[in-house]
């Protein structure tokens, strides 16, 4: 116990202080109400996001502001890692992989658009991160590559090389990146779970729960995309599912994808595991995709519930770090979503329904 105390006492105090500064829901509703992007940015003036207004007013480019937001987000992880050591620090490193994976996905998407879809990518190349996150990956060369072989060559020595090598023929033959992207997601979660398994039991249990809920959300996102845009068979869908989910096991996902007994499954899940969230069952949906969106909302509710439980419980565990990252991600996601919605003139009601 003394170990946990010395390991987490400082970071616990620091992150609790930061959690108290996470923007309240009322402010997001204020932002949703604002007339246009610039007024939404002005409403963030007295928060830690005041820089966004400065970036926008000096460039007129909201994507530039978003890029700065992403850099700040990566810095948050690096900053927390500084205060930890051993398996906990390794875990933060594993969490940092999500940014490298996403950045690499973006770079490969640009290559794919240019080379395979024959589209101009000049507008997009400025919004990829060229700085090192974990590995030295020459994003420049990937974006400008002549072939996947060249990309494989420059990724040599990183964990991504084998994934690209394995899947690029499928990407080229099917004209779709989704298999490679799913493989990247699988790599990220496999690596994360490996790091979680190195933690002490108490930390491990918490990390497994919170990561499990995140994996559930990730799987639901994939199912929604696959159902809406790809129309794949059940076997193929099951192959994309990331293992390690907390509530949505493979059989349940199968039923969700086939949309059999969705309400029954949901009711069972909420009633048995999260009776406090039964208010979420009140919503009625008409089509399958809406139902899946509802499930996503429920899983977000479950994440929130888990985070609240951790914040109210024993403080000296990895839980506080996970909770902070989850809350911060949620906050950043909402800000990005609202600013983009304002940029595209989406109505207040629709924005509010999404936050």
């Amino acid at each position: 116990m003394a170990g946990a105390l010395s390991k987490y006492s400082f970071i616990n105090a620091k992150l609790r202080g930061r959690i108290s500064k996470i923007l309240p829901d009322e402010l997001f509703h204020e932002l949703a109400k604002s007339h246009g992007l610039e007024e939404a940015l002005a409403a963030l003036r007295d928060t830690s996001f005041a820089d966004l207004e400065e970036v926008y007013s000096s460039t007129g480019d909201i994507k530039q502001a978003e890029l700065e937001l992403l850099k700040d987000e990566i810095e948050i992880y690096r900053d927390v890692r500084k205060y930890l050591s051993g398996s906990s620090a390794e875990l933060i490193e594993a969490l940092l992989y999500q940014f490298e994976v996403d950045n690499l996905k973006n770079a490969i998407r640009l290559y794919f658009d240019r080379k395979i879809r024959k589209r101009s990518i000049d507008a997009g190349v400025h919004y990829v991160l060229y700085d090192r996150i974990i590995h030295d990956i020459p994003i420049d060369i990937i974006v400008n590559a002549d072939s996947f072989d060249e990309i494989v060559g420059v990724c040599e020595g990183t964990p991504y090389c084998q994934i690209i090598k394995k899947y690029y023929h499928t990407v080229e033959s099917r004209g779709s990146l989704y298999r490679m992207e799913i493989a990247f997601d699988h790599f990220y979660y496999d690596n994360l779970i490996k790091c979680i398994n190195k933690l002490d039991k108490k930390d491990r249990d918490i990390a497994v729960r919170l990561t499990g809920v995140e994996i559930d959300l990730q799987n639901i996102n994939w199912i929604i995309r696959l159902k809406s845009f790809y129309g794949l068979g059940l076997d193929e869908v099951m192959a994309t599912i990331v293992p390690g989910g907390l509530n949505l096991k493979k059989d349940m996902i199968g039923q969700l994808y086939s949309a059999h007994n969705v309400e029954y499954i949901l009711q069972g899940l909420i009633k048995t595991k999260y009776p406090g969230l039964s208010a979420l069952l009140g919503s009625e949906t008409s089509d399958n995709v809406s139902r899946l969106l509802l499930i996503r909302q429920m899983l977000q509710g479950i994440t929130k519930h888990e985070v609240q439980k951790i914040l109210a419980g024993y403080p000296f565990t990895i839980g506080i770090i996970f909770s902070y990252f989850i809350l911060k991600q949620e906050e950043l996601k909402k800000i990005r979503m609202i600013l983009n919605a304002k940029q595209y003139g989406i109505e207040q009601e629709r924005i509010e329904s999404m936050i």
């Binding site: 604002s34 610039e38 003036r45 007013s57 000096s58 007129g60 190349v125």
Partner: protein, 668 residues
């Protein structure tokens, strides 16, 4: 100053026709914190809802204008000479449209900025690539195979230049003139290799033919890299101009926006006041709290506004005829106590009628800080830093908390100077005779210069005495609060009540007796019984008293109840004994930190002695900086912790509601 300001509740009835004048008078006086007279609410739900909607509209528009003004660096406020009688009605739709127009104009500028930004990003990208693979003509051949950019020189008919520029617009490229040879223009082109095939098409269309670099052209040797840098600078200037233009769009409307903001804000305040008026067919009823000192003036202005046609009834706090629960609390302290009031408010707002500890926090907090951080030189540094910070923040209303914190640092600095004088410390050196005793000498094992203080135990004892004084003061305050609120049972039976205090006083006497007798003897049995036994036995009455006083119908008294009483009594006694003991010993940290402060300085002096010259001075300077930063912060936090947990918890219930009247200075 010692107690919260005495408040009185006004219950008023006026004629509906005087509503406007009455509102003006109430707003001008700005001393009423309204209470909703809910018993009348159901009479006009539609009207109330319409008022609320109007208030929401006004508030939304006002906040919108505020956002625009903030962009131009203006924080709006109501001028002191604002004429609230002759308010101009604001056409919300019209003003909204005006704001939409300003926003659209600004958006137009932002669109241009976006285009320029894209151009800047393009050029920066090319510049970055050139930095990697070669900067100018002479490096053309050096660009390695792995370079992502392609550089070429070619000629084309001068009449096709425009066509070329347009064709290249969508690509990440840069072209510059090299020379004109008759009707042929020679140009240098940088583009990305990835766009090679598309760019070749554009070049072919424009009649481009690649040429070898002639010697003559080599002599031109124009530094393209510099040209890109110049272009980038030009674009940055343009970007800055557009940014200023966007600001100027708002600045050109500032006067109007500010005037509208004032109108809206006053209107909003009017609405906020009038929402609290409960109308009947011909009259309005209103009620609210105000300080007793404002009663006469408010009566006068209301009577004048209503030309005498009004009924005003004032009820003191605690009277059965007041409406609503709770009385708002106004803390009235001199300006110099503001930093300490901030410390109190951070803990909570005292309950109405109880002691406002601000004036006592000042000596208690500063004494503890001084004992932990006693040094004239370091104190003067704190004073200087605090003054500088307070000076830079003096006009910043947004950072009032930081301003008060700066003054707190000044006060702490003064305290350090005073205690530094008492202990004879100047930047850790004893260069003059201490007024009280030599703290450094005691810690180093030398004479203290005082017959009373012989070793570190004596310093620990000083802090124990201090702790006993602080706790006793807290207990006295608690008794005063209980007497004022007529809570007689709590006065006697609470942990901080008279019996608890009796036990604490008795325990303290016994502890001193024991120490003074060489840790070998306690007072006699009768004295012990009188000091600790009697109040402990008297505390046993507490639970039965509560049971019989608040017994629910059907609740029976039996043997289990007696066991309950016994258990509660034992637990309460344990809590009192262990609580007071730990509370008192907690003050030893003051001595601990004071000793640590001296030890740190002694360590730096020892380190400095190991070197000489600049090295020695550097160690002392850095040591002092470290001590001021680290120890200063620690002493500040520990003094605060002791004030909050050992002093405040004895008497302070931070359950009060701060008095926030509707006035022209109300916060948004």
């Amino acid at each position: 100053m010692m107690f919260t300001t005495e408040m009185v509740q006004l219950f008023g009835v006026a004629l509906g026709r005087d509503s406007q004048r009455l509102t003006e008078a109430l707003l001008r006086e700005g001393c009423m914190q309204f209470v909703k007279t809910s018993e009348y609410e159901s009479k006009s739900p539609d009207g109330a809802s319409a008022d609320q909607d109007r208030l929401a509209e006004v508030s939304e528009l006002r906040k919108r204008i505020e956002g625009f003004l903030h962009t131009a660096g203006i924080i709006p406020s109501v001028p002191e000479d604002a004429d609230i009688n002759n308010r101009v009605s604001v056409d919300i739709k019209k003003e909204d449209n005006l704001l939409n127009q300003i926003a659209a104009q600004r958006e137009g500028v932002r669109d241009k900025q976006r285009v320029i930004h894209q151009e800047i990003l393009k050029l920066e990208d090319i510049k970055r690539q050139m930095e990697l693979y070669g900067r100018d003509f002479s490096d053309l051949k050096l660009a390695s195979k792995s370079a992502l950019i392609s550089m070429q020189i070619g000629k084309l008919p001068a009449s096709n230049l425009k066509q070329l520029e347009n064709g290249l617009k969508d690509f990440l490229s840069f072209s510059a003139a090299v020379a004109i040879d008759g009707d042929m223009a020679h140009r240098f082109l940088i583009s990305m290799k990835r766009d090679k095939s598309e760019i070749n098409k554009v070049l072919a269309k424009a009649g481009w033919s690649e040429v070898e670099l002639s010697n003559q052209m080599h002599s031109v040797n124009k530094n393209v890299f510099e040209e890109i840098s110049t272009k980038l600078e030009k674009l940055s200037v343009e970007q800055k101009e557009l940014e200023t233009k966007a600001k100027n769009i708002i600045k050109s409307e500032v006067e109007r926006l500010q005037a509208t903001w004032v109108n809206l804000w006053v209107s909003e305040l009017f609405n906020r006041i009038q929402i609290n008026f409960e109308p009947s067919s011909r009259t309005i009823v209103f009620t609210g709290w105000l300080p007793v000192s404002r009663k006469a003036q408010l009566t006068k202005v209301i009577t004048e506004a209503c030309q005498g046609h009004c009924y005003l009834e004032f009820n003191g706090a605690g009277s059965k005829t007041t409406i609503g629960d709770g009385v708002p609390v106004q803390l009235k302290n001199p300006k110099f106590l503001e930093p300490f009031q901030m410390l109190v408010s951070n803990f909570g707002i005292p309950k109405y009628g109880t002691i406002d500890p601000t004036a006592f926090v000042m000596p208690v907090y500063l004494s503890m800080f001084g004992l932990m951080f006693a040094d004239i030189g370091q104190g003067l540094v704190l004073v200087m830093l605090g003054f500088l910070s307070a000076y830079s923040l003096r006009n910043n209303q947004q950072k009032r908390g930081m301003y008060n914190l700066s003054w707190l640092i000044v006060w702490c600095g003064f305290s350090s100077v005073v205690f530094g004088g008492l202990f004879g410390s100047f930047f850790g050196m004893t260069i003059f005779k201490p007024i009280w005793f030599d703290f450094h000498g005691v810690v180093a094992g030398h004479s203290s210069g005082s017959s009373m203080i012989k070793d570190v135990y004596s310093i620990l004892a000083i802090t124990i005495y201090f702790g006993i004084m602080v706790i006793t003061l807290g207990l006295l305050f608690n008794w005063v609060n209980m007497i004022r609120s007529r809570k007689w049972s709590e006065l006697f039976f609470d942990k901080g009540g008279i019996f608890g205090g009796w036990i604490y006083g008795g325990g303290t006497y016994i502890a001193f007796y024991y120490v003074l007798h060489g840790y070998k003897m306690f007072p006699g049995g009768n004295v012990l019984f009188l000091l600790v036994g009697v109040p402990s036995i008297l505390l046993f009455i507490k639970e039965p008293y509560h049971f019989f006083k608040h017994r629910q119908p059907g609740e029976k008294f039996g043997p289990i109840m007696i066991m309950n009483f016994l258990m509660c009594w034992v637990v309460e006694l344990l809590e009192i004994f262990s609580g007071y003991l730990s509370n008192t010993l907690s003050f030893m940290r003051v001595a601990g930190l004071g000793i640590a402060h001296v030890c740190l300085m002694m360590s730096f002096f020892s380190l400095a002695e190991m070197t000489s010259g600049i090295g020695s001075i550097a160690i002392l300077v850095l040591g002092n900086i470290l001590v001021i930063g680290l120890e200063g912060l620690t002493a500040g936090i520990q003094a605060l912790r002791l004030s909050y947990y050992e002093f405040f918890t004895k008497f302070f219930h931070g359950t009060g509601e701060l008095y926030t009247p509707i006035s022209l200075n109300s916060k948004n």
